[in-house]
């Protein structure tokens, strides 16, 4: 690879403009080439390893690494639930309210289902609700926050009004009310409720991000290049706040998982759903405390704690992406 800098001169020379051809020594000498490298080489070398840089940054953070491994574990459990679970979670052929033993590691429910199998299948619900509920909230937040921040003026005033409304209306009672009155029950409606009530904080966050980004020169430059508003918002601004968006997506997912469990525990879920929240609900109603079935109550609680903390751990690594000061050596 030849170097650009020497080539830079050529067109100018052809112009007969400036570059004075001088001879500095009497001895003819070979042209001096720049060393065969410039900063492009390490970049290519990095690309060859097929590990994108963002992943390396996250991975090099110890907390995030633990979180990622844990998340992978949960995902695998969710995918292979039917292989891993010893029984069907809805099978009621076992004796009710058994204590943990070698047949039923975590005992059975009041209705005679295997708690351990329910725990494994429950992973699916939590992950799906987290991914979709958090995703819905993030998408709404993105669109509203970014348009408000970029357009400014009256558009911003109106959208900000809705954002503030979303912030001051207490989320949990709203969710309970909406979920309780909805004609159908089940995870889908819970995802929708979570998405529709949980975006306000993220929207505000994104709006303020856009406010700082939209005054950058490259945004003005895109305007001069003739790009339209939507294109500027989604192609010029959004990629620059990707790590922050991921950050708030993960936070929203944590919120969604917690909210789902909470709603179900309060009894507004579909009773036939297999999920950790529903397990807690049944354990509570089935008198797990009275019969001393600690495992029925503790296991889903611990699972919920584990999945939310693993997502939070990942967030430490994502944080390091947007703030190099936090990167670990």
């Amino acid at each position: 690879m030849d170097t650009q800098d020497h080539n830079l001169k050529e067109p100018l020379e052809q112009e007969g403009l400036t570059v004075t051809q001088g001879v500095t020594t009497a001895v003819p000498e070979p042209p001096i080439l720049e060393p065969e490298d410039d900063d492009v080489v390490p970049q290519q070398a990095r690309a060859k390893r097929h590990v994108p840089e963002w992943f390396e940054v996250i991975w090099s953070n110890r907390k995030a690494r633990v979180g990622l491994i844990l998340l992978l574990f949960f995902i695998l459990v969710a995918i292979f639930a039917n292989v891993l679970a010893p029984y069907s979670p809805t099978d009621i052929s076992f004796g009710p309210s058994q204590m943990p033993d070698s047949q039923h590691w975590l005992g059975t429910t009041q209705a005679g289902q295997d708690v351990f199998s329910q725990l494994i299948y429950g992973t699916r619900t939590s992950l799906i609700v987290g991914a979709l509920g958090g995703g819905l909230a993030t998408i709404i937040a993105l669109v509203i926050g970014m348009v408000a921040g970029y357009m400014g003026g009256i558009v911003d005033e109106i959208l900000s009004f809705f954002i503030n409304l979303g912030l001051v209306v207490p989320a949990l009672p709203l969710m309970v009310t909406v979920a309780a009155y909805s004609p159908v029950k089940g995870p889908t409606i819970i995802i929708l409720v979570i998405g529709l009530t949980g975006w306000a904080w993220g929207a505000r966050f994104k709006r303020s991000q856009v406010l700082t980004l939209r005054v950058r020169d490259y945004i003005t430059s895109a305007q001069f290049a003739g790009d339209g508003t939507l294109r500027i918002v989604f192609r010029e601004i959004l990629p620059n706040m990707l790590s922050l968006t991921v950050l708030s997506y993960i936070s929203a997912a944590i919120g969604a998982i917690g909210a789902e469990a909470g709603l179900e525990f309060l009894g507004v879920g579909d009773p036939s759903t297999i999920s950790w929240g529903m397990m807690l609900y049944w354990a509570n109603n089935g008198g797990a405390m009275i019969t001393g079935q600690w495992a029925w109550l503790v296991a889903p609680g611990l699972a919920l704690a584990a999945i939310t903390s693993c997502l939070m751990l990942i967030n430490f690594g994502v944080d390091a992406l947007s703030n190099p000061q936090l990167r670990e050596e």
Partner: protein, 643 residues
Amino acid sequence: MALLEVENLDVTYATKQRPPLFAVRNVNFELNAGEFVGLVGESGSGKSTLGNAILKLLLPPGRITAGSVRFEGKELTTLPDEELRQMRWRDFSTVFQSSMNSLNPVTRIEAQFQDVMAEKSDLSNSQIHDRIGELLQMVKIDPSFMRYYPHELSGGMKQRVALALALALKPKLVILDEPTTGLDVLVQKEIMHNLRTLQREQGFAVLLISHDLGTVLEVSDRVLVMYAGEMVEDAPTHGMLKHPIHPYTHGLLGSYADPAAEEVEISYIPGRPPDLTRVPKACPYAPRCPEAIPLCRQAKPQLLPMWDGKAACHVAQMQWNDEQHNHTRHSEEGPKLLDAAFSEATSHKAMKLEGEEVLRVENVSKTYQRRAGFKTTSMNAVNDVSFNLRSGKVTGLVGQSGSGKTTIARMITGTEYPTSGAIWFGETRVDKLKGRGIHNYRKHVQYVFQDPFSALNPVHTIQYLLMRPLMNYGKLNAAQARQKVRELLETVGLTPAEQFETKMAHQLSGGQRQRVVVARALAPDPDIIIADEPISMLDVSIRAEILQLLDKLVRERKIAMLYITHDLLSARLLSDEILVLNQGHVVEQGAAKTVIRQPTNEYTQLLLEAIPRLERPDHVRASYVPTAEPTKVQVDASPVSEE
């Protein structure tokens, strides 16, 4: 014993993700008590890293990997942090470019001094109060300002407060890292002058780190020049001005000239510094050096004494050896060094084009209303300004920040509307355009930004960035646009184009980025280009290169250019006509040469005086014809190994 001794210092930035960067390598120098020394280098030369390493202020992943730093004989590199903390402020202190922003915003100026002084000195409160007054007076601030909060002061004043703070405990050494960069030229000049006077009176030592050789030469006793992490020259100011030893120093000096001279010419250094993730085994300057000989690519030159200073250069050293043996040769003869230069005589002006009018600004004024409580104050940003832009001509708009020059640019591009007056683009009233009209108008008026680091979106490739305007305005499809991108890159001198297309902005140097910014402005084939301080953020050694590029475009494409700057030297070189703007008023207007050579306004004269006036060293060392075998020369001929 010198006050500060730096010996064989190496600083490396090593992270897991990237190859280590050898930012400072084998640096040796001394600083005597009471000496004012400048440390000059361009971006990436390691000068700030060196400054931080001396005071152990390096941020990870930067680390001192070898060598020693001694302050009054005491080794600092191994000193425990607690002891070092004791020495800060009292023995040495620092002022950074950002110091003015690090004043605590919620406490008064006085309290900030008290914090520093109460802890480290045993003065009583009233003594401290008196001393603060004294310190502020020293930096030419009225003592009554000590009751103010930092945000109530201007940037220049805050920076002076930071300087006074650094001097509060009478340290023996003050390290200043770009202390005036980013401030207005006149303020810069004043602070530097002030600093020099103080230093003479009080006798503390100064290490002034700067990218601007001109400023440094004006105030320092001695100058150290760094290139690519190595010290390449260490010489007294006087000698350096008359007779720079190292070719790089010579190249840097070429960027300065007296704008009021009859003929003005500045030069640049083609090429860019090497990548420091690999330790250069030979002279790091060799790829750009006009004097290089084969030996330069084989062995690394050592920093050795010659003439009145020290330099790391094979050729200079051979000449010095020659001169030692042969006293008849004099150093002040010989051929000119090879320079890539830009002068008025080679610019578009020499063609004496008669441009036709493209844009007319008629009696334009802009007033901003500001509401504070019940009071409404109005500020006249621009006052009754008229001029026109002609195709193939450059109009220079010169002034400091706050002079209204950017407001004028914004009105011309339609981003802001004038309060009164009119702007005509042919038959179109620019100041009446809205929405779609502005979009269409921008095809004709493009902008070159000041900061090439923020004008290119870091997430896109160069190709994407250049395709956008082509597809938006030129109505090309993607394939045609891609073809045109190559042409554009070639026009701005980025060849081979294929190599640049796929890169992201952060993979390019500052000068290359600015070329991309120019290419983007060219893409819609505009009639007018507004260049807003296009060279002020670039390294001094490549500024002339970008000026040359802009000049070429004006000439070839018959573009009308508005060149906005605070720098009269570049304005003189590039512009046909100059308007000097002071607080919204045009104080001087006329042909470039006339305005600068015979300024009638006081303000123009002030601006002129602020430019470092260095004589161009055109008497250069005798050319060296290697008569002796290079091996005779005292150099470390074995290639320096990595690490």
